[in-house]
């Protein structure tokens, strides 16, 4: 149940057996079935979630009812609405399961208590925050300066598993392009 999380942590920092056992006690194991929500728009995001198994997406819905995908999260990834989690403001996002999913959830008070109990985890979360900032900057930069084809290439370079598991219209939404545009880009790339 904790294999993937402990693997992820131990890639970045080194925990003793005792520290690993202690870390486990701060997480809430949660199973979601496909199409169930972890977070719905208007709620306060109470948890940061680590994906042990399965696949989720976060998205918002505009006034016309169109969904805009912000993030996908597969095994070994974290997902949350950090703004809502950190400020206590209602979230503007939904997070739902695209497959049957196993999560490890941590709430704000357990997060703080874990840092007190296992100070090494501060470093782990600092590294995660750095990585997330870099990824966000790359995505923003790609959105404002790259073509649809270049953005798609960047996505497939590091996320083959997501592409195989997520419907094409959600990939298009993530890239901020119409599904027809994504089909055209894929046809062009196949033809090259």
């Amino acid at each position: 149940m904790f294999e993937v999380l402990l693997g992820n942590i131990n890639k970045k920092i080194s925990l003793t057996e005792k520290e690993q056992e202690l870390v486990k006690t701060f997480f809430i194991p949660k199973k979601l079935r496909r199409k169930q929500f972890l977070l719905q728009e208007g709620e306060v995001c109470q948890y940061t979630a680590f994906v042990e198994k399965g696949l989720l997406r976060s998205y918002n819905v505009d006034e016309k009812g169109h969904e805009h995908v912000l993030q996908f999260a597969v095994e070994d990834w974290w997902i949350a609405d950090l703004y809502s989690f950190l400020t206590g403001e209602p979230s503007g996002y939904n997070i739902d399961a695209l497959e049957d999913t196993e999560l490890l959830l941590i709430n704000g008070s357990s997060y703080e208590a874990m840092m007190e109990a296992v100070p090494k985890m501060e470093r782990y979360f600092r590294i995660l925050t750095q990585n997330s900032l870099v990824a966000t900057q790359r995505r923003l930069s790609g959105n404002i300066s790259l073509s649809a084809e270049e953005n798609y290439k960047q996505l497939i370079a590091g996320n083959t598993t997501i592409l195989q598991r997520v419907p094409q219209h959600m990939i298009a939404s993530f890239l901020g392009i119409a599904p027809e545009t994504l089909s055209r880009v894929r046809r062009q790339m196949t033809g090259k």
Binding site: M1, K24, T25, F26, F27, I28, P29, K30, K31, L32, R33, F37, L38, L39, Q40, E41, G42, E43, V44, Q46, E102, L105, N107, S110
Partner: protein, 141 residues
């Protein structure tokens, strides 16, 4: 929009469990997973509940561990002699979750406290269930 809470009721066909289930099934925004070794009685209870509360999300399940893993809150209404066995079954998947233990006296169970040290155990008398409300952050009596 508020996310549905999932409650697993372990021992749903026991007298206390059945009364609790009937009392709680009308709660809006709650999904119920019912468990009992008596599958015939469980099927009959589920059918009765669906007829009495159309639209309520009620599902009979066979695996106590899986249901507790899915649940946000666990309602334990098994006989005292089975508490230890059930606690051992679910302990890995109820860390940080609220486990509501219902018994006639309302006195806390040392067995459960010991077996589930990382869960939040609340003990209630059967009559105290009526005042419960299930909020985004948990349960309020």
């Amino acid at each position: 929009m508020v996310m549905k809470k999932t409650i697993a009721i372990i021992g749903a066909t026991e007298p206390t469990g059945k009364a609790a289930t009937m009392q709680l099934a009308s709660h809006p925004g709650v999904r119920f997973l019912l468990l009992s070794p008596d599958t015939t009685a469980l099927a009959s209870l589920t059918q009765t509940l669906h007829a009495s509360f159309p639209g309520a999300e009620i599902e009979a399940m066979t695996c106590t561990r899986d249901a507790s893993w899915e649940a946000d809150i666990i309602l334990l209404t098994v006989p005292e002699a089975e508490e230890e066995m059930v606690a051992q079954l679910i302990k890995e998947v109820v860390t940080g979750k609220i486990v509501i233990h219902i018994n006639e006296t309302g006195s806390p169970s040392e067995t459960l406290q010991k077996a589930l040290p990382h869960s939040i155990i609340e003990t209630l008398k059967p009559g105290e269930l009526a005042g419960l409300s299930f909020t985004q952050s948990g349960v309020r009596s």
